[in-house]
Each structure stands twice: as C-alpha cells, then as structure tokens.
C-alpha cells in the first residue's frame, strides 16, 4: 500500500545521487522576511525535483535549499506553526550537541563558519559535475545575491571528489565510500543483495506511511511540511596524519596496517567487507555492489572475529543484530572537502574531511539515535568503554577491542581521527512549500 511519491514536489536531493565531482554549500542569513522571500522566489525554479532525476540536467539545476528553524521563522512562519515541528528541529543541532556527542573539540562553541549562530537561516547546496561547473554556479549565485539586499553568506564550503577520479568515491583515509544506500519503497528500485528491504517513503518524506504502518502527523501547515524531509548537516574533519601514524605505530608491516585499518572500519579500503573477506583484501569484491553488502552478522560473525563488534560499519548498520533497523535508515548525501594528503606526506595542517547531510523524517529517531547509541554509546553491544573508532567522540580516552583467536587485541585510548567542525538541523521543504515560503501566501500556489 505504498502511496505514490509526489516526485514533482519532492526536492531531488534525497531521491538520487547526482553524478557530481564538486559541490558547494553556502550558509545564508536573511536580514528580513522580504529579503529571504525575494531570494527564495528567484531560486525555486532552479531547485531540482524528483521528476528531474535521471533526465539531462545541463547546468545548476542540482540546487537544493533547506532551512533551519530560525530560517523558517525568518521567512514568516509563525510560532504556532513552528511549535508543531519536532522539538529537536526547533532547538537545532547546537542545542542538541551533547546528546550527539558533539562536544569538546567538536563542540558548537568551536564550530567554523557561524554554523552554531542563530543567524544561520538557510543552506543552499550546489552539486556540480566538476569544479569548473561548481565555480560557475557560485559566481552565478554571487551575482544573484548582488541583485538583492539583505541576504548574507555567513560562510561556504567547497567540496571536491578525491583522486584518482576513477568513478569510485573515497574519503581522505582512503576507504571506498557510498557503498550502502537505502532504497525507497515505491520507487521500483531494487536494493542490492544484503541491503535490506526497501524502506517506506514515510521514513524519509513527510506525508507518507512509514515503517510503523501509518503516516505520522504532519507539522502545520501541511502545505509547508508535506513532501519535506529533515536534514542533519555535519562537517567532519579527518585527521589523516594522525590516522596513518596510528596505523604505523600499531603495526609492523604494511599488511598489518591494512588489516588494522579494515578492523577499524569493518571493510578493507577497497570496500570489501571483513565478514566476507576476513584475512586479506579483495578489491573485486569491494567494488561489486551485488556482493559487497551481501552479509549479516548474527550467524556469520557473532563474536566479531571477522568484523569487530565496535567497527564503524557494524555500529552504523548492525544489520541483523539490532532491532527495528527499518526505522533507523537514513539517506546520506555529501562529499569530501580539502585536498588529499598524499601517501607518505607529513600532515600539512590543512583541514580536510567530509561534509554531509543525513536525510530522514525524524531527526530524533533516526539521526540522533545513530549518533547517541551507535556512534557514541560506550557500552554499545556490551562493549566496555568504546566508541565508534572513526566517527565517535574521542575527547576522553576510549578503547577498541579486536576479537582474535587465541587472544583478542585491545587498543587502549584511541586518538580522535575525526572532529566535527560544524553542523545544523535543517528542514528540506517540497517545491510547493518552497513557493509557499517565498510567497508567504498559500493561496498563490493553487
């Protein structure tokens, strides 16, 4: 009984990945309702819809626009309406940082680009085929802004795919990325083997039946909320030098380094999962989307002798070893920023990392759960004093246990391999909602 997705109204952003090698995120503030509406009105036609997915998209139409709660208010949404939005969204990520484990060096007081500021109202996301196209879009947007008064760019972030541009997404530590992606029920897409059942649209888009079997209540006005989603934004610096030094310190040979890197992640850098290839890398397996997700934990690896219980992918997707997995699925969009650090080069002090959006219909049940329980709970699955070795908060010393026969290996006091440098909770409206926000008047939309 999957309701037909209103593809013409849903922004394309969470529906499909666009073939982009570059991107730019701009963080905006509106000085007045009028300024915000004017800016938005001009940009709505450029926002890609679900319908445009798969069609030729010649220029800057991979534009995505999302708003913080302050942003919705700054566009004239009144408090009574805002009060019907979930509390976590209203409070914003900075206020929820403690829950998320985004504290200490990662804390909102240290974020870059004014992201923790109440002045942050909107993000405009531009994905482009390449850096040249991205820069063209940026110029175009700058020109557009110069025609308007009262819209400020608080900060921006440029993103680029990392070499060797072989069609494989990698992040700075060298792991292959984008191997898992939930499939939305009703799109006709088939999940790759091991990726689980298609997930009901209501888990990502408001106004549809979710995995509870009913559509959750819509924030008001429904015109604003229907076909919308929530996004959690994270800018996560990757400390490549520290990561490589750690591998070297813990290992005597290159092979041992690679195995340790695989144990931290749960996959070899090629993407080959440890559960399927526990002893050595298998790049062919890593790249084969029909095989690389086709595994479970409960029977194949109950004690983590292959993939440690605390490995990143086992925390982020415990598969058959967690409850209600269908209600925890999220859609990730984003990419890498900062220059690659060449193998063997000393750390250059330049910030590099991943800046990504996590899309869902409930920040508290999906995104916050993952951060609170899977990433940062030190007693996750009866582990003792461990957090996600890659993305967990390691301001305090946490460990990592690598089950091994005859004797397990316990890594004491892991260094922080990543630090959160910014974040935000956003509402990603549908196209009609964008028009409503731009006009401030529901009647204009019919």
């Amino acid at each position: 009984m999957a309701a037909q997705l209103d593809l013409g109204d849903i922004q394309h952003f969470l529906l499909a990945r666009t073939p982009a090698l570059a991107a730019r995120y701009e963080f905006l503030s509106f000085e007045s309702v009028a300024a915000g509406r004017a800016w938005l009105a001009g940009l709505v036609p450029k926002v890609g819809t679900g319908q445009s997915v798969g069609t030729a998209s010649p220029d800057a139409r991979w534009v995505t626009i999302a708003f913080t709660c302050n942003g919705l208010r700054s566009l004239g949404v009144d408090d009574a309406a805002l009060a019907t939005f979930p509390e976590e969204f209203r409070h914003g990520m900075a206020a929820r940082a403690e829950i998320l484990g985004i504290v200490g060096d990662s804390g909102p007081d240290r974020w870059f680009g004014d992201l923790a500021s109440p002045a942050l109202h909107a993000i405009v996301i531009l994905f482009a085929r390449d850096a040249g196209e991205r820069d063209r879009c940026e110029r175009q947007h700058r020109e557009y802004l110069s025609t308007l008064a009262g819209v400020d760019v608080l900060s921006a972030l440029n993103l680029e795919a990392l070499p060797p541009f072989d069609g494989v997404a990698r992040e700075h530590f060298g792991y292959r990325d984008r191997l898992s992606q939930p499939v939305i029920a009703g799109t006709g897409e088939q999940p790759t083997p091991g990726s689980g059942s298609p997930v009901k649209a209501g888990e990502f888009f408001l106004g549809y039946e979710d995995e509870s079997g009913a559509p959750p209540p819509l924030p008001r006005p429904e015109l604003l909320s229907r076909n919308g989603s929530y996004l959690a934004y994270l800018r996560m610096e990757e400390h490549v030098g520290a990561f490589r030094a750690f591998l070297r310190r813990q290992s005597e040979t290159r092979d041992q380094q690679e195995l340790l890197a695989a144990k931290l992640m749960g996959r070899w850098r090629s993407g080959a999962p440890l559960v399927l290839s526990p002893d050595k890398d298998d790049p062919a397996l890593g790249g084969d989307l029909q095989r690389t997700n086709d595994f479970l934990y409960k029977e194949a690896d109950p004690h983590g002798y292959r993939c440690p219980i605390g490995a990143h992918i086992r925390r982020m997707n415990p598969r058959d070893t967690a409850e209600n997995m269908q209600r925890r699925k999220m859609i990730r969009r984003g990419g890498t920023y900062g220059p690659a650090l060449p193998e063997g080069a000393p750390d250059d002090g330049v910030e590099r990392g991943i800046a990504a959006f996590i899309g869902c219909s409930s920040l508290i049940r999906q995104f916050e759960f993952a951060m609170n329980v899977w990433v940062n709970d030190p007693t996750f699955k009866d582990l003792d004093n461990e957090r996600d070795p890659i993305v967990g908060n390691h301001d305090d010393p946490f460990d990592m246990t690598i089950p091994k026969r005859p004797i397990r290996k316990r890594l004491r006091g892991l260094p922080a391999f990543t630090t959160i440098r910014g974040g935000a909770y956003l509402f990603l409206p549908g196209i009609r909602a964008l028009r409503f926000l731009a006009s401030g008047n529901a009647e204009q939309l019919s």
Partner: protein, 185 residues
C-alpha cells in the same frame, strides 16, 4: 561515564530528588544516571477501576511469551522486572519496576515497538492518563513514562555497574568451567 570497575565491590549511591546529579540532556529529556544498580524504572500509576483482573492476566501472558521465546524482551537489556499491584486507600496502583542496562533515552523507540509487539499496551492502556495515541506518538508515550517515573533516592548494587550481558557471559564461562571440572573428577 566513569564507573568503578571492581565488580565485586558493592556500591550504594544516594540520588538527589530530581533523579539526577547534573542535568544531562538525552534525546527525550534529562537522562537518569547509571547507578550501581544500573538503569531502572519505577513507574507508578493508578489503574482504571475494574481493570485489575485484566492486568493480572497479562502477567500470565508475559510468562507464556517468555516461555515460547525467552529472548522476546532482549532489546530492553533487562536484569529484572517486577510488576506490582498495590492499594492506597480504595485506589489500586500499578508499579512497573525494571532494572536494565539501556538508558531509556537511548532505546525508547525500540521499547515502544516491543511494547506493541508483546502487547504491553494491555497493561498500559489500563492506566489512568495513558495517552490513547501512544502507538503513533512516541513523545506522548515518553511523556507519560517520565511523568510517572519515581526516581530512587538510594540505589545499591552488589555487583555494581555490571551489565546483564556481561553477567550472562560470565555465568556461561563459569558453567563451562564447572562442567569441565565435573567431567575431570
């Protein structure tokens, strides 16, 4: 959270009236501290008149559920449950007393799913003030639970801060040893 890892050394903890020492925000409100007696609920609520027998009958239902599927409540990471009906004056009250390892804040949605699956609603819906829309509204459910949760002012654990999982692993190890010793004699 720092814990005393000497699991054989009993520990008691006095707890302020609020139920926590420092306000730490969880996903669904202030988180309660992990004490030497792990996490726990003492939920007390008046039952709707005339529902006592239905509530008692549900005890038997849970007994049978666990008999058929001993791990039916595994997601709650329980140590112990005690469900009590007691009288205050002419009113009857229900107490849900649980000791578990998850802070509720973390596994709220799993708990609600589980309550649906095992029909704990049969009890909770008999309690005065329980939200009728609890199945679709996690926040309403959680609000009820929080409003009826009575924090302890003292908790004591003989083997403090040890999770049920750890205990079960240790017992399995001891059992293996014990049976080995029996076979060696």
């Amino acid at each position: 959270m720092a814990t005393d890892n000497d699991s054989g050394k009993p520990k008691a903890l006095a707890i302020p009236k609020e139920g926590y020492f420092a306000l730490q925000q969880g996903r669904y409100g202030p988180t309660y501290p992990r004490t030497p007696a792990c996490h726990g609920f003492t939920i007390i609520a008046k039952i709707k008149p005339g529902t006592e027998e239905e509530i008692r009958a549900y005890g038997t239902r849970i007994e049978k559920t666990i008999e058929a599927n001993p791990h039916a409540l595994a997601p709650l990471q329980l140590h112990y449950l005690r469900w009590v009906l007691f009288d205050i004056g002419s009113d009857k009250y229900f107490m849900y007393q649980g000791i578990f390892d998850t802070d509720f804040d973390k596994y709220t949605e799993d708990a609600i799913e589980l309550f649906k699956a095992t029909g704990v609603n049969t009890i909770f819906e008999k309690l005065e003030g329980f939200p009728t829309d609890w199945k679709t509204s996690a926040p309403a459910f959680i609000k009820f639970v929080r409003e009826h949760q009575c924090p302890s002012f003292l908790e004591y654990g003989e083997y403090p801060y040890v999770s049920a999982g750890e205990i079960k692993k240790a017992l399995a190890l001891k059992q293996a040893f014990s049976s080995m010793l029996d076979h060696m004699q």
